[in-house]
Symmetry: C2
Amino acid sequence: MDEPSPASFPRPSVAVDVAVLAVDSGQLSMLVWQRTGNTKKGEWALPGSFLRERERLASAVDRTLADKCGLTGLAPTQLAVLDDPDRDERGWVLSVAHLDVIRAEALELREPVGEVCLVPVRGDLGSGRRSVLELPGRQRRLPFDHEMIARLAVDELRDRYSLGPDPYGLLPEKFTIRQLRALHDSVLGVTSQKDTFRRAMLPFLAAVDGVASGTVGRPAQLYRRAR
Amino acid sequence: MDEPSPASFPRPSVAVDVAVLAVDSGQLSMLVWQRTGNTKKGEWALPGSFLRERERLASAVDRTLADKCGLTGLAPTQLAVLDDPDRDERGWVLSVAHLDVIRAEALELREPVGEVCLVPVRGDLGSGRRSVLELPGRQRRLPFDHEMIARLAVDELRDRYSLGPDPYGLLPEKFTIRQLRALHDSVLGVTSQKDTFRRAMLPFLAAVDGVASGTVGRPAQLYRRAR
DNA sequence: AGAATAGTGTCTGTTAGACATTATAGA
DNA sequence: TCTATAATGTCTAACAGACACTATTCT
């Protein structure tokens, strides 16, 4: 917002990068994508792409997931703007880092568009030279500033799952407290106590008609998120 | 991060907007600036400017405060990227909203560069059509999407001052718990109990040699922020 | 009946909040 | 001595964590 015309200023390229998280058989995991093209070809990295004319950032994130991975995300969250002018050797590129979440099943049931896989997030978030992720093959770390994005994303997801039940809606509409606890324990990397967890979550849940079926033991009450 | 060359994509203009907060005689206040130039001339708005070539966002924020208000901020914090393609009638402009904090004395002791003033933040954050701020004159609300930026900034500042002692370093290096409490109460808009406040803060403080002087009553221990 | 899981009662240690008391300075 | 402020002791209510017990279903 300034005196001279916007057009008179040099403009940066603007990209979005996305840390896509999922819970895959009880393990918090992140989606990585094997780069094609000229730069860092063959390296595993976070998916990203350039913003198109007058496109919303959230749309660019959705499009990236659809084009690169054939996936649908649940709700992109902005994490930070990476603005080091030397972060990309191709020129002056600002990147808006995002977090998004998918259901892991969506990845398993489809044909890969490119080379895409879910890799586990390290419990200790990778101290020192080790990556936050357990990358495939011999690759040590993510390229560019993607390690920082990955760490921001895991922190943000854990913050949100500490505050209330399933903020990203990974569970179906109706769910049991057992399902909710398994999800939260996977995201946070802990094993909580069932009664403590129940009492912490109940204020944010509303019971709905019906109980879980098809399991052994006493059927569990179904809930939905309240308000 | 993508296949085609960055240069081949249309690029948005990128701006920074800054919500500058200060505590002015016990009142949380925000800096507003009376616009000059062609667009929304005369309206009170948040200071902002366009990003220069290969400039860091934090530098652009510092420069904006220096040029428009003759001020030095303490540490810019990114809040969000505002990406509605129609948010600015002059064209496609992305804005990275920031929070920064200044010492109110810095504004009182200098000659105004343009028309700049500190206005109080409303206790209820302005419900409905009322602004978050008590704007001067008859102006009801801030232009563009600045109302949202102002609200994000106040929320962020309060979150940070809820977690630990003076995260933005508004106080001098050594301070008493009385000073710290006055600051926190002003920022959060509450009046806390002195012993509860003390016990909540002590784990994050380290006593230093010396006591406060020049006041009535028993001299207070001086502290600094720990680690 | 036995196994497995859901849901609840209860104890305990910790902590926030509030109030009261003691300590130390200046006037 | 009086007043103002700093610093600490103590009581209470609320809460997290942990354990145990009861309830309900399937095999």
